[in-house]
Amino acid sequence: MKKRNAISGRIQLLDKDAIVKDAFKAMPASARRLFLGRAATLGGLSMLTGCTVVDEESAEKLLMKVSRFNDKVQGWLFDPNKLAPTYPESMITRPFPFNAFYGEDEVPEVDTADYKLAIGGMVSDKHAWALDELYKLPQTSQITRHICVEGWSAVGKWGGVTFSTFLKRIGADMSAKYVSFKCADDYYTSIDMPTALHPQTLLTFTYDGQTLPAKYGFPMKLRMPTKLGYKNPKHITEIVVGNAYTGGYWEDQGYNWFGGS
């Protein structure tokens, strides 16, 4: 398994920004680091008014508070029985876009033989899962729309085990608040339990009928059509059920945590 640390990954991205435009059009890493400072000076607004009109720190705090409030509103809006629309095979977007916080040539190579999915937190069965074991779980597939936080969307077909089935299998405490994910590419994110138990939330091992290719998240991707793309972790290596908020790679930089759609 190829492991990189997040810092060197980001530095590489700075140089590759121009080349890997597709993978990284959200923003350059430098802007990401400057975000809070820039957002707080109101970006263009401060330029238009010619001065900093609000105290930077308090503006930042207020915006983050509203974002936490928006998490609550989305949790309240979320209907566990409402299904995302599904599509016919003919509507699958081909080729389905590659998307990550790095370029396509930096996709982690996960070694099938060595791979084990680690399980932790509030579960009764913490044994690590080999891929063969996971493939033996009841499989299903669905064709849904992936909506990116950037605004574009694409239809794809993912197959795997219904995540609620998997959570039951590991004896997860369903009253826990969060399910957190760690990934082979140092990505991490976390989701709310109601979304984890949604019938369309799948732990997927295939894309379009084939073993999930590395670029789409081999060996597995959690696919949630009720959440934005960045909430759908790929290359998952560890799943933890718990009550501690663990944030996420993008969420810790300002993206909304709930990220529902």
Binding site: M27, L62, E150, Q253
Partner: protein, 198 residues
């Protein structure tokens, strides 16, 4: 006749108007930044006139200011109906008067000696912008939560189409603002009235 004949714009109207200005400016400028993350059309908006610094910052501004727009808008409409101002100021609106005023405006002879009354073009413009903001909010709800607002999503013709509706709603709002500000510049007394009420 209202008790104070000199007051054209009551306090609630002036307050909601200026709060709306704040909300709309934040929403448009941050919205332009969000648009740039994945442009629908073959152009980008210069980053220097956008708000938020990057996509994540722009989204934070956008999803904060949306609450101000909606809550303030609901208060504005509630006062409008409760006081009867909506019916009094905007109606009747007759097509013939709209055309007449349009011809007069093009000739540069649109009457504005009595600022307490809206001419037919003003009525139409202000009603239009209320409807436009409603369309922007509804299409925005679909872009924000397309799965949860499923009936609205169908109404907007799907997620991707809702983005296009949202964009053109913004474009119409910007066009309104440009004309509105030019008109205020031509008749500066109207600006004083929106601040002082008379």
């Amino acid at each position: 006749m209202t008790p104070n004949v000199a007051t054209v714009h009551p306090g609630w109207l002036r307050i909601t108007h200026w709060l709306n200005v704040i909300a709309v400016v934040i929403l448009i400028l941050s919205g332009w930044r969000i648009y740039n993350a994945s442009p629908i059309f073959a152009f980008r908006i210069p980053d220097s006139v956008t708000l938020g610094g990057w996509l994540g910052g722009a989204l934070l501004w956008h999803f904060a200011a949306m609450w101000l727009l909606v809550v303030n808008g609901v208060i504005y409409m509630a006062f409008n109906f409760a006081t009867g101002r909506f019916g009094r100021k905007f109606f009747p609106l007759r097509p013939r008067e709209v055309i007449g005023d349009m011809v007069a405006a093009l000739k540069g002879k649109l009457a504005h000696d009595d600022l307490t009354h809206y001419n037919a073009l003003q009525k139409l413009a202000y009603l239009f912008v209320i409807v436009d903001v409603a369309v922007i909010v509804l299409s925005g709800l679909v872009v924000w939560k397309s799965v949860q607002f499923s009936w609205l999503r169908v109404l907007m013709g799907g997620f991707d189409n809702a983005r296009i509706v949202h964009f053109f709603g913004m474009a119409a709002l910007v066009a309104f603002i440009v004309v509105h500000v030019i008109m205020v510049a031509l008749v500066p007394k109207t600006f004083v009235m929106m601040v002082r009420g008379k």
